[in-house]
């Protein structure tokens, strides 16, 4: 233990901003940057939410919106997917939670490179603007948003049969490349801060699991995002100067194109070498947040902390060698199926261990059913559902009938849409009091929780069964006049209508959440320094909300792990990390 050493950040001076602009806009304070990331991600997330509602209306009532044709539908699925995965989930879990939690939980004054951290946010904002610029451009030019699907598979991405194949795709690829620059600046900061700027006594194995999740997720991001970056650049070259990285000789809608010799599968490998770790870039921080939420609100230590840490590390490593399970029907060499099915099912073991340990943490606990706890519990159940359907799709032969159907849509929404969003909501309800000094309204929060949890479950659980029936995903409509009538039973369409109704309710319920965020900011109950009675360092700041530099004169000293709840023989049910051990023990 390095208790005698002086923490790095006590050796460097902290420069306080001198202007209002420097304090609140071009701020280098990690907490302000976290809020900027959070608000931007939520705003762009609302765009994705509206798009999803349009898609659902189209699927339930195909004639309701005559202006919403196949082009609009495909653009909507593309933009919705891309926003949710990259610009909302990645940006929120790492940009907002990462920025807020890492320095506070590690006992640091700020990120190690505050200026780079500020740049990270502004570059992220540029990427969002470039991404959404396509909508105003649509009004004045004939630029269309790309409808290539969020997977952007060539050759269709840049050929005439796809909406937005001329300039929409260029904007999308440019935006992604810019986002990756922003992510890299943020990611280097998280890793350096976790490795270099922990306070005295904060060993790696005393770090809260939230920090562990963010730490490994950031590693994955720094390994995986470059693969997306190069594939975006290569596709831009194919599109703009006529190279043939991904483009073989093709005849597109009667036109012979001048490409030859390229390999569409190369793109898919690059994309999923990014895309699968991306799932865990989103999942691991969510795992961490939920672990902490369950432990704090169940008033009990997280069960099997060391196993939880090693499970995160094992999942992180394994996630780099499972990518081609997204490509079982892509036409790659069939023997890859054996390898990737095996690695994919192996990754289920550490993942299952995490689920067991969350559940076992509830055993003989003293559970407070606060709003953050409700979200954490809902996360666990939703994640179990999303995880076990992953065992279907990961097992190569089962993927054959189910891939590209609504089973896949249901699976990935459960596991990587709803689950991380429940974790994000839980985290917001949990940390809002520290961030603002005020509590969120409990009643509104509970309504928001019940509608969101039950609503999303009844949207996605029945959707798996549409996949068994064989309804393909990414279909604008399934009936084509009298020539090709619907190929699945009419009852399946009734189910679609039901799902859309549930989706509209869940969408509308998010107004409650936004209302709660805004209203409580001004009129919420005062929170105090540690309303949940939590142990980790962010609840031990001298000021609430924490001031610039977080800790006043001296950084805190850590004497124990973050999970000393219900320690026998103690007066309180929790002992914060900076409380010294008694001399006797």
């Amino acid at each position: 233990m390095a208790t005698a050493e002086i923490p790095y950040q006590e050796t460097v001076p902290l420069h306080h901003p001198k202007t209002w602009l420097g304090k609140w806009v071009f701020s280098q304070d990690h907490k302000v940057i976290a809020v900027q990331y959070g608000i931007t991600a939520m705003a762009v997330g609302l765009v994705a939410l509206v798009l999803s509602q349009l898609m659902r209306i189209q699927l339930a009532w195909p004639d309701a919106m005559p202006w919403f044709g196949p082009d609009e539908y495909l653009s909507a699925i593309t933009m919705h997917g891309m926003i949710m995965v990259i610009y909302l989930l990645t940006a929120f879990l790492l940009g907002a939670f990462g920025n807020f939690c890492v320095p506070l939980m590690c006992g640091a004054r700020d990120m190690v490179f505050p200026f780079v951290n500020m740049l990270s946010y502004w570059v992220y904002l540029v990427s969002v603007i470039v991404l959404l610029a396509v909508y105003p451009l649509m009004l004045f030019t004939d630029v269309q948003p790309t409808g290539a699907g969020w997977t952007l598979y060539p050759p269709q991405t840049i050929t005439a049969g796809t909406p937005g194949a001329d300039w929409g795709i260029v904007l999308m690829l440019a935006s992604l490349a810019i986002f990756i620059v922003a992510f890299t600046m943020g990611g280097l900061n998280y890793i350096t801060t976790i490795l270099q700027a922990r306070t005295r006594g904060m060993t790696l194995m005393r770090m809260p699991l939230t920090v562990w999740g963010i730490f490994i997720a950031t590693f994955l991001g720094l390994i995986a995002f470059p693969a997306l970056f190069v594939s975006a650049v290569m596709m831009l070259l194919d599109r703009l100067i006529g190279t043939s990285f991904f483009m073989p000789a093709i005849v597109s809608l009667g036109q012979k194109l001048s490409y030859s010799g390229g390999q569409p599968l190369l793109f898919q490998h690059l994309f999923w070498f990014f895309g699968h770790p991306e799932v865990y870039i989103v999942a691991l921080p969510a795992f961490g947040v939920v672990s902490d939420l369950i432990s704090v609100h169940a008033r009990k230590n997280i069960f099997g902390y060391r196993m939880m840490v090693w499970a995160i590390v094992a999942i992180g490593v394994l996630s780099l060698i499972v990518w081609a399970h997204h490509m079982y029907v892509a036409g790659m060499h069939p023997y890859f199926g054996f390898f990737f099915a095996t690695t994919t099912l192996i990754i289920a073991v550490p993942t299952a261990i995490k689920v067991y340990n969350w559940t076992l943490t509830l055993w003989r606990a003293n559970i407070k059913l606060t709003v953050p706890m409700l979200f954490a519990l809902a996360f666990v159940l939703t994640f179990i559902m999303g995880g076990i359907t992953g065992l279907f799709l990961g097992n190569v032969i089962i993927d054959i009938p189910l891939s590209d159907t609504y089973f896949v849509v249901a699976h990935f929404h459960m596991v990587m849409g709803v689950s991380p969003i429940l974790a994000i909501f839980g985290g917001i309800y949990h940390w809002y009091p520290k961030l603002t000094g005020r509590m969120l309204n409990d009643t509104v929060g509970k309504w928001h929780f019940y509608i969101t949890f039950i609503g999303t479950y009844v949207i996605y659980f029945p959707m798996h069964y549409l996949g068994f029936v064989g309804v393909p995903r990414r279909y604008y409509e399934t009936a084509l006049g009298e020539v090709y009538p619907d190929f699945y039973p009419a009852s399946a369409h009734d189910l679609n209508v039901f799902i859309t109704c549930a989706a509209l309710v869940v969408g509308a319920a998010q107004i409650l959440f936004i209302y709660n965020l805004v209203h409580s900011f001004f009129w919420g109950r005062k929170a105090g320094a540690n309303p949940w009675g939590a142990n980790s360092l962010e609840w031990r700041t001298p000021d609430t909300p924490p001031s610039h530099g977080n800790w006043g004169e001296q950084l805190p000293s850590v004497h124990r792990w973050a999970y000393d709840y219900g320690v026998p023989g103690e007066e309180t049910d929790h002992i914060p990390q900076d409380v010294p051990r008694r001399a006797a023990s």
């Binding site: 093709i250 036109q255 569409p264 509830l362 054959i400 891939s403 590209d404």
Partner: protein
């Protein structure tokens, strides 16, 4: 305790839904029962795990509610329990994975007695090729594709002459004969999928991909495209008929070989030939056929000069004015039985008049005399 009750409802409700749901796999039409069995094993193991974990959560949330002053049990870890859980999970994973890998081995190992069927895919239609009497396909590549050679078959390849060319969207295969599907694509990724067969595979331009199956029951099955292929993805439908061997032979006799196809190409005037190129390069053949078969759009064969029924019950004569309007504003008049969805095009006068000549020459000579005959 609302949350415990709700979680219980979710767990129990999911199980009940599963057993009462009318939505499940369509009746299997191929030899791939092992896929269904693997799905079943996975269903049981995952279902049991889901119910057990869910019920434990519900029970403990109910039982260990907050009481002021009570302390939770302090047990940071329990290596024995954790090891057991790891072992049980590993066993469950192996039981699911093993039959899956056995089935996959079957799936990628094509039996030597399988016959070959080439499926050609393009935006947004299917066409097919059989190797013909010699059992060998002529070499084909996208670089050879022309208006008269839609599958890109290499000229002067002797193996190609007897290949059977099927340009309609419907393919017929005999029951109980193993078939290896070879997939090619002209343009983008597609995926040949018949839900009842269970099997599917992407077609990738520049590659030939494959899968195999043995049809085990007769019937008419929908062919769907399962890989996003652009704005017409959802319209890319076809039909697979599984028939007895005798019916198959009859059907096969009626198909044309590559040699016949080449020589039987319609003798077109230069102007009409130009019109055909205009249509091809405009992508019209993605939806309109020339052989009388129905695709996403109405066929052009014999269309000119007929009176066609529209969606609103009225009728219209197919003349220059109608064609011009349908190209510029496709949704103005929708043929009865077809869905709107065509993209408007702009044609200059020269191309338009060539196109009209082409449409005129698509009407067989004996029918041109009956100007205004009602087309069914």
């Amino acid at each position: 305790m609302l949350i415990a009750a709700l979680l219980l409802l979710v767990v129990v409700g999911s199980v009940i839904f599963n057993f009462l749901s009318p939505w499940t796999f369509l009746d299997i039409g191929s030899n791939w029962a092992l896929i269904d069995i693997t799905v079943y094993i996975t269903f049981v193991i995952c279902g049991v795990a889901f119910v057990i974990l869910g019920l434990y959560m519900v029970w403990w949330i109910y039982k260990y509610q907050y009481q002021p002053g009570r302390l939770a049990e302090y047990e940071p870890e329990n290596p024995k329990l954790e090891s057991w859980l790891t072992i049980i999970t590993t066993i469950g994973v192996v039981v699911m994975l093993a039959p899956g890998l056995v089935a996959w081995n079957d799936y990628v190992t094509v039996p030597p007695d399988a016959t070959e069927l080439e499926v050609n895919s393009e935006q947004w239609r299917w066409s097919y090729r059989l190797p013909g009497a010699d059992g060998v396909f002529g070499h084909a590549h996208n670089k050879y594709i022309t208006v008269d050679n839609p599958m890109g078959i290499k000229e002067d390849d002797p193996f190609a002459e007897d290949d059977i060319i099927i340009t309609s969207q419907t393919i017929v295969i005999p029951i109980h004969r193993k078939v290896k599907i070879l997939l090619r694509s002209k343009d983008v990724l597609h995926d040949f999928w018949v839900p009842e067969i269970r099997a599917k595979m992407d077609s990738v331009p520049g590659m030939v991909t494959y899968f195999w199956f043995e049809p085990i029951r007769e019937g008419v099955f929908d062919i769907l495209c399962a890989e996003l292929c652009g704005r017409g993805h959802h319209t890319m439908r076809g039909e697979m008929q599984v028939v007895s061997l005798e019916e198959y032979e009859t059907w096969l006799d009626a198909q044309v070989t590559w040699a016949e196809y080449k020589s039987g190409t319609l003798p077109l005037s230069d102007e009409a030939q130009k019109g055909r190129s205009v249509a091809s390069e405009g992508g019209c053949f993605a939806c309109h056929t020339l052989d009388g078969s129905t695709a996403v759009g109405p066929t052009w064969k014999g269309l000119w000069g007929t009176i066609v029924e529209l969606e609103d019950g009225s009728s219209v004569l197919v003349d220059e004015e109608y064609v011009r309007e349908s190209i510029a504003d496709p949704n103005a008049k929708i043929r009865k039985g077809f869905a709107p969805g065509m993209v408007a095009e702009e044609l200059n006068d020269e191309d338009f008049s060539a196109l009209i000549d082409f449409l005129k020459e698509l009407v067989p000579a004996e029918e041109t005399s009956e100007e205004g005959a009602v087309q069914e």
